[in-house]
Amino acid sequence: MSDELVKKTDTRSVTQNKFKRIVNVAGIYGVVVLFVILGVVLQALGIINNFLTATNMLNIVDAVSMLGIVALGMAFITYSGHFADLSVPTTMALTGIVAVQMLQFGFFVAILSAVIVGIVIGLINAFAIGKLKVNPIIWTLALNYMTLGVIRVVWANKQIYPDMISSSEHATKLFDNIYRLRFFNKIALPMIMLLILVVFFHFLMSKTRYGIQLKMTGAALKAAKFSGINVEWMIGSAFVLSALTATLGGLTVTSLSRVGAWYNGAGYDFKAVTAIVIGGMTLAGGRGSIIGVLGGVLIIGLMNNLMTLLGVGTFSQDMIRGIIFIVVVGLNAKSLRSMGRDDA
């Protein structure tokens, strides 16, 4: 009996969505293309110069590669339904300053120390949020300030410079090269790191047991737990991943500025969240992709580039980024509500 009966009673539309699904992912790159077209038009009108050149395109990616590295790791936290890691800025600063300090024992000791510090911060977050279930926003915000305090106290509020501490010129050179090494004279090392991370993280998030279970954890924590998934471990691991990419970002930023200081990494928390959200990863978790987040990062890069070419000031740029974040989150919430969900 039942086949017929059941089929008749469900009158809701069946034609959701293969198309919609494609548009969702492609949409982000549609916006990327729109920004490029905007740049081309502005150039054609003579308002800006040098937009559509190979050098400028590389500049764009170059400029956002550090942001991209940090955002990709943090995306795992958003995907797990735990919003964001606000301890990223001082994680970057601390790992950077530790690396500079340890350069006195050589380059590899410096890198290793930074990574260990990063993992420790990640584990602290993992324990507090995964195991003790502290609110992730409040906890990482607090940890961010605590770490800031540690840096200021330990280094007595001073900045430290690689060339003054390093054991050898060779080590200093290696450290400088984290940001400056270029392949074929064009492609910078951070860009390569970003690309490797995109490939690896995309695979991890969409093709592995870990990624599938993380999606379930993010989409429905309790249902995941009742499916035999160790949700505490899943959530914790996302925070460790985020701390590791923050370490990578911290080393790169410090190499760029050639100074270990408490302010390295400032602003990366909000910029990363913006990239993640623009990239189509909803704050409710379980939705979105690494490719999408990369799209979000590229949009921010293009936007920054265009605004700079147009001569928009730094503070105005911040304002515009804030507005865009609010609009994107708002639109997302609105479209979810109209679909009968309020989980934006």
Partner: protein
Amino acid sequence: MGDRDTSKPAFVMEQVSKVYTGTIAVDKVDFEVFPGEVHALVGENGAGKSTLMKMMAGSFDDYTGKIAVNGQEVELKSPAQAKRNGIEMIYQELSLALPISVAENVLVGRLPKKGLFIDKEKMVEETTDNLSKVGLEHIDPLIPIEDISQHEAQLVEIAKALGNNPSILVMDEPTSALSREEVERLFEIIDGLRKTGLAIVYISHHLPEIFRIADRVTVMRDGKRIDTRDIGDVSKEELVQMMVGKSVTEFYRHETYSGEEIRLEVENLTRKGFFHDVSFHAYKGEILGIGGLSGAGRSELAQVLVAIDKKDSGSIVLDGKEVKASNMAQALNEGIAYLSENRKTEGLATRLSIRDNILGALVPKLSPNGIYDKKKGDPVLEKLIDALSIYPPDAEREVSTLSGGNQQKVLMAKWIAVEPKVLILDEPTRGVDIGAKVIIHNAIEALAKEGRTIILISSDLPELVSLSHRVMIMRQGHFIKEMQKAECNEESVLLAANGEGA
């Protein structure tokens, strides 16, 4: 309030119906309650009593039929309209705000003001006035709700409802969280309210309570009103028979089963505060029913069996080997699976696709070396979507867009997919339509025929009695009775669950 005319009904529903997508939840029901009367509404889960109650509360704007309050025809299409017409609700779960004061809770929405500010003196006075109606005048109106007992909070809830000076009071299982003495005190208060001429609708499935407090009783089943009787004219057995009905005979399956190989042995299993010294065994291919009232400890037992919660003592032996799982993943590996009664929170990730849900617990098995093999799940997925007629049969469809019945089928499919040795089903057909119910029942029987052991926890008596080969009755955390198929019928199970040997 004593001047109310008790010869005319305070509240009348005439031929009211409510249709959810695909199912008729309330079907042309007549219902009335007089001033000074306590009218009980009884029925099994899914009989339509809570839908009828929601209708009284103004939760639906698409019901059909006529409703009249004090002789005047009215519309109850929003909660505000219901309140305006003097209807007040008291729900099973308290609707009080815990951290704020008793007074602010009781007078919410109508706090007395002096200019811009709250008139504290008047607030205390009015609250004490209201509290005295429920015998709580000794409570300080300024302490927060969280500082008073559950029982007192329940009475505050009533005081809050009375503060709006209602003519009809609807109470949904008001005793579910109360002790025996507290229940008696509540009944004394209800007796008092009855004398003031208040019309009271009392919803419960604890039959002894109904005989204690009600003047009349209306029985609902399958969305229809079966009968309304004076409480003096009806026996407990008759009431049970009316609740259970005969229209469900199509579900009776008189298959007997004589188990030979023991699959699961549970000895003196205890989780303190939830259940104590529970012992039972189950055979290969057996459907073992566990009956009892909600709160008897059945779900808690299930959750210990799958290691979601930890046991305090006792042993679980599966196929002759002690199960030492310390988390659910290990229990699943050993072959014990659990379908939760809470479909939307613990069962499904409704924002994910049918695929993600059905294969949700199978991910480890589909991931050799940690790499998820999406294609490997396809045959299982196709087979289950087909076997359970999940509609629409689109694996990528988001589960939240399916009907309740189809969502439940997806949940069932999820646990069939892991091919467990022992599958514990906790209310596997709660709130689903007949079509889905039949499909799920067939699936349960098929699983048993394959030799899997099914532990069926259900408050749906026809389901429990017809599917189970044997039924254990659980009451207040203990197994109190074991019934073989032959002695098992809905009446005997219901009476046993209420603690009365039949």
